[in-house]
Symmetry: C2
Subunit: 326 residues, 2 copies
């Protein structure tokens, strides 16, 4: 099979590799589409090694494709089924093996290549904002980097659940596009913003925030805490803007806030199965009825993977970039 | 009635005040004992005003006593019943009114004056460590200021629930006394400690921590995050050591930690009723059977309230200081 491989120094090379063999509880998938994520860029730069058990040099944390073969203990899905899911690595290859329990069905209404950009964004957004953040109808959500893959997924999900959404971006153009997707309160985050001032701007238009989905970290934590209302939940899923930040413990106590860090990649298998199961039950029906949709900025053939990575790195995209492995 | 009153400049004066009238859902309590808490010291210093509805100038956040009269809508408790509870202020007086739903029974085995030192410590410890921290048998707990009222309550509760406990104090003597109370891993926190080094010392003896009860804040947050194991819960209930601290967001994500701030005093009435209800169900039976016990360092008559406040401020006590209002 052809696979994208990270070489010394971060060079991306398309190589021939043997098709992997599924274990007893695994399925073999012929991959059609695989999203490119910021984590792939980090892995390429040598700063986010694959966990044990995942292919060490083939990037790719999500996929959609067709089941080609199944292990002896797998009852479902079966050969020919259209599936998608998160993996700890190896998504950007023509074939991969993964636990049957980590597969969700791809609704017939969705394009199988584009579906490769669904799992990371929608499972992350659902797990962080709804499951861990306990979002309820009528509450207020704040999403930083609202034009990202996870951001556009969270925005749509929150609106579906009856929440109002404030979202930040550093780009006016991206905020305009997010508004078309239903963003109630677009807020520009200018370079070198003052966290307290940005929080005041957010709460002035949106009110105190119940659930914050923070993909950025660093100074955004100050915004999250200052903008939060009583018993607010702040879920941090990324730290592009900084791995350390000052926490206002006084506000944390006074408002009785929760600050939660979360990642999908390193979770044990049973927890990935659980997150996938909840996504299948609560999010897939909305995708199937096109109430929400994957926001795909670009589909790039495997041969042009480098260009796809550049697109993600340049931070000019709205939504996802997906590799086409058909 | 006699009441302790905070005057201009923080002077404490014993004054005659009218006995309050219970509202329809309230009880009138003849107070026997009322714990003195650090929050009273803050209020006295003008830095922690009573919330609306509480007596603005009579301190006291907890009490034990006998019900003297009840409002028209109160079915239970009734006159003559021995009760205790948390209040938003006004505990340090011969009489107080409080919601019937905020009263827990005082077991017949307990001294009614000493029982005035139970509610804040045990409701805080139970609510923070067990309810919010989701402590389970076999898990590891870290308690800072383990010799305090809340610390000694948390230590005993955690041991009862089948957890092992590491505890810090700045005093070797207090750690020795905490060890007699069941502390598995006493750890001295020297002045100006390095958070990473202190965390390493804790995990070397206790292993990675599941639930941290942090009464101090400031640099202790760095200890909490560094000592936490996967999916650790850090509950902060005080900030004597500092209202701001650096948060290691990288560790927060990698270990999938939860950092939670909490207070009792400002909660809405229904949430105080819920915390009291859970305390009554899960903690009172242990107190009644003397499996756990209030740790009272000193009982001080109302006339010597100033001395009681000095004892708490001097930080030399092990457990609680209680005002005797009999």
């Amino acid at each position: 099979m052809r696979a994208l491989v990270i070489h010394e120094g971060g060079r991306l090379v398309i190589e021939d590799r043997p098709v992997p063999e599924p274990g007893a509880e695994q399925v073999l998938v012929r991959v059609h589409g695989a999203g490119i994520n910021r984590a792939d860029l980090l892995q390429r730069a040598g700063r986010y090694p694959a966990p044990p058990g995942a292919p060490p040099d083939i990037p790719g944390l999500e996929f959609a494709g067709v089941v080609e073969a199944v292990g002896s203990a797998v009852a479902s899905p079966g050969p020919g089924d259209r599936v998608m899911g998160i993996v700890a690595g190896g998504g950007q290859a023509e074939y991969l093996t993964t636990a049957a329990a980590h597969c969700a069905r791809v609704p017939g209404t969705l394009d199988l290549v584009e579906a490769g950009g669904i799992p990371e964004a929608f499972i992350t957004a659902h797990d962080a904002m709804v499951v861990q953040g306990e979002l309820m109808a009528g509450q207020r959500v704040l999403v930083h980097a609202v034009a990202s893959g996870v951001g556009t997924a969270a925005l749509q999900l929150a609106r579906c659940l009856g929440a109002t959404v404030a979202g930040t971006s550093r780009s006016k153009d991206k905020l305009d596009r997010a508004a078309e997707l239903g963003l109630d309160h677009p807020v520009l985050a200018p370079p070198g913003f003052d966290p307290a001032a940005l929080a005041a701007e957010i709460t002035a238009v949106a009110g105190p925030i119940d659930v914050t989905l923070d993909l950025l970290g660093g100074p955004y934590l100050g915004v999250d805490v200052a903008a939060a209302g009583p018993k607010g939940r702040i879920i941090i899923v990324g730290l592009i803007a900084g791995a350390r930040a000052e926490l206002d413990i006084g506000a944390l106590l006074r408002k009785r806030l929760v600050v939660r860090g979360t990642v999908l990649r390193s979770r044990p298998s049973n927890e990935k199965a659980e997150a996938t199961h909840l996504f299948s039950g609560q999010v897939l029906p909305l995708l199937a009825r096109a109430v929400i949709r994957p926001v795909i900025d670009a589909v790039v053939p495997l041969a042009e993977a480098e260009r796809g990575y550049d697109l993600v790195a340049a931070d000019g995209t709205f939504g996802k970039v997906v590799l086409d492995l058909q």
